[in-house]
């Protein structure tokens, strides 16, 4: 079964958009992060439900109106490594 990922609920972070980037304060860690697309979108998708890479890619495909989910999946996998390293996303 593919690995699934989960983020804290939206209530656990404060997000402000600034010049096309998202500045996110993560309450549990008290750490602030600067995120570029599609990292904020991935975080939002994982706040509602646990998803694997393909599930996230499908969400982003709808959000960005792109059909090429396999291309998105490669980017998603890369961003997940970063988000996990930053402590914003966890594997379950």
């Amino acid at each position: 079964m593919p690995r699934r990922y989960r983020a804290d609920p939206r209530s656990e972070r404060i997000s402000v958009e600034m010049e096309g980037m998202a500045v996110i304060y993560h309450r549990p860690s008290g750490i602030t992060h600067l995120l570029a697309a599609p990292a904020p979108e991935i975080l939002d998708a994982l706040s509602d439900q646990a998803l694997d890479v393909d599930g996230i890619a499908a969400c982003l495909a709808a959000e960005f109106e792109i059909a090429a989910e396999d291309e998105i999946a490669a980017v998603v996998a890369d961003r997940l490594i970063e988000l996990e390293g930053a402590g914003l996303v966890a594997r379950i």
Binding site: G30, P38, I66, A74
Partner: protein, 142 residues
């Protein structure tokens, strides 16, 4: 001068511009594999003390959970002589700080095993689980 290459926004032969260009632009918005999209700014000073010491560092990170750690902190194959199995549970920022400052061993581990784990943590790179936690420990408090 004609611009040719992968970043060319011209439609490919047989594909009307309206179909190809918007999708290409949206893909570019997604960023590239290998590019960075997450930058940790700094810990919020108000909650630094509590949150950082409670943050966790898995040893090794979940992507290498099968590997053992040698004395230098490098990831090696399981059962490598002189290497240690993964930590049973993630180390907390508090434990890592105690080890760094006072040489206190991690719970249930020998002095040498603790030193191997700490050497692993010192090698953590941006993007690896626990890096932000370790980096936060190094930051001066305001």
């Amino acid at each position: 001068m004609a611009h040719e290459g992968p970043m060319n926004e011209e439609p490919r032969e047989g594909h009307p511009a309206a179909e190809v260009a918007p999708t290409r632009r949206r893909l570019l918005m997604l960023g590239a594999v290998g590019a960075s999209a997450v930058v940790t700014i700094r810990p919020a000073l108000a909650s630094t003390a509590g949150s950082i010491l409670n943050c966790e560092i898995p040893v090794p990170d979940p992507g290498h959970s099968g590997n053992w750690i040698d004395a230098d902190g490098k990831l090696v194959a399981p059962n490598t002589p002189g290497a240690y199995p993964p930590a049973l549970r993630p180390l907390t920022g508090e434990q890592v700080k105690s080890n760094l400052r006072y040489g206190r061993s991690y719970p249930g581990t020998s002095y040498d095993q603790s030193r191997a784990y700490t050497n692993y943590i010192r090698r953590l790179q941006q993007g690896t689980s626990g890096f932000t936690c370790y980096a936060s420990l190094q930051m001066p408090r305001g």
